[in-house]
Amino acid sequence: MAFANPNITAYAVEATEFPDLARRYRVTGVPKTVIDETVEILGGLPKDMYDEKALQNVGS
């Protein structure tokens, strides 16, 4: 998604190495995706759903 849109930056974060981040974003399982610190997605989603989640957040 970062590759598709210059406004998007994507971080792959190793949760056990950075427990402060895991705590801050309430990572209770993986994969967990956090969009703009507000939208939280626990577990994997079908590819199209990530677009939807990203766009929902644009409207907010």
Binding site: A4, N7, T16, D36
Partner: protein, 147 residues
């Protein structure tokens, strides 16, 4: 000692052979107080041997704070993937890795390098058009654990 088996090296060499542009991996690191920086370096050292299109550049996180800030890096080890065309012109992919890319994360790193290196994206044209609606900066963080 190589971390990858000969068979894995051969497979990766073949995949990287499809790359059309160069990829510079900026490796943000520090000598002291970083448990996994050395391991990350060892993992990254495997890559340039498999493709002359992959370059690893070590960036000292302590001495080069401005560069780290430029790429949104506030901890180490961290990677930023940058595409480079033939003239050396660089384009930030905005793809980052925080923490050592070991286990399955190594696969993610390989996929990201291939993407930045010119392999066609897995997103469909429809996906891309929808994402065009994102017109202000957005940050995605995907948390994983070592496997």
């Amino acid at each position: 000692m190589a971390l990858l088996s000969t068979a894995d090296q051969d497979k990766l060499r073949e995949s990287f052979g499809e790359m059309t542009s160069n990829v510079r991996v900026l490796f943000f690191t520090q000598t002291l107080g970083c448990e996994t920086c050395l391991h990350t370096r060892q993992i990254l050292d495997e890559l340039p041997a498999l493709s002359d299109k992959i370059v690893i550049e070590e960036v000292n996180f302590v001495l080069e704070k401005e560069r780290a800030a430029q790429y949104g890096i506030d901890r180490v080890p961290a990677l930023a993937l940058v595409a480079e065309d033939d003239t050396g012109e660089a384009a930030d992919s905005r793809i980052r890795f925080l923490g050592a890319p070991s286990g399955y994360e190594f696969v993610s790193l390989v996929q990201a390098v291939l993407l930045v290196g010119g392999r066609s994206p897995s997103l469909t044209e429809e996906n891309r058009q929808k994402l065009a609606a994102v017109t202000r900066p957005m940050t995605l963080q995907v948390f994983t654990t070592p496997t």
